[in-house]
Symmetry: C2
């Protein structure tokens, strides 16, 4: 299916349920999902989805992931209030990664920071770019 | 290590070699790496790195991944010419994902498209956003 889509021209449309059926889930039944702030372009976090999380996200338009540490659905923001309204969902070329364009309320990171990617390599060091807001 | 960094304020500096030693590699010895165009913010692709790929990328400032399909180092652009000059490398909060801010020559996708994330969900369909340039 994804090889078929690769050859398609811009504007071609495929059935979503057939695309979902073709997802090459990993051995744990998961797919990576990148969350990006839809307007600023800031990459917020990387998480994982199983089929149920993806289907719930598609239905509710609110990001729902699979927590690998807790082994349960993770409705982003249920505890923190920092929900992600989903503006767009994109599959990559081979279907094993998703890009979610979201509107992030508050911080995406569990530390309260806006993005999880706050550790920048500078020479032989790693510099923290933002202070924690909660832990 | 990453729990220590979580609590650090902006500007704190940690030793890169200690951060790398603390990476929680997956069972295959890999970490996910997101490539984002440094100036436009476009998310280009998601790939994987092992320690050797990360060290080479840090040294050469040119993105080198680990190809899971070919089980070998994948010096992005060696075949296609579509290299990624690395402007910045960021670790996420728990150290199991990297964000590379790159300057992408040509297309990041093996189809020649600029980004791999060209399949957008629209209702019950998936719309192809860009045509292939090569396959």
């Amino acid at each position: 299916m994804f090889q078929l889509i690769e050859n398609a021209q811009a504007g071609a449309i495929f059935a979503l349920n057939e695309v979902i059926q073709a997802i090459p889930w990993n051995e744990d039944g998961l797919i990576t999902a990148i969350a990006q702030q839809y307007d600023s372009g800031e990459v917020l976090m990387l998480a994982w989805m199983n089929l149920q999380a993806l289907q719930e996200t598609l239905t509710t338009r609110r990001a729902c992931y699979w927590s690998r540490s807790r082994q349960m659905l993770w409705r982003k923001g249920d505890t923190s209030g920092c929900i992600q309204q989903v503006h767009d969902i994109r599959f990559d070329c081979d279907g094993d990664a998703l890009l979610l364009l979201v509107d992030q309320t508050g911080g995406a990171c569990h530390t309260g920071r806006r993005s999880c990617f706050y550790n920048a390599v500078r020479g032989d060091g790693v510099v923290v770019l933002a202070s924690p807001l909660r832990l």
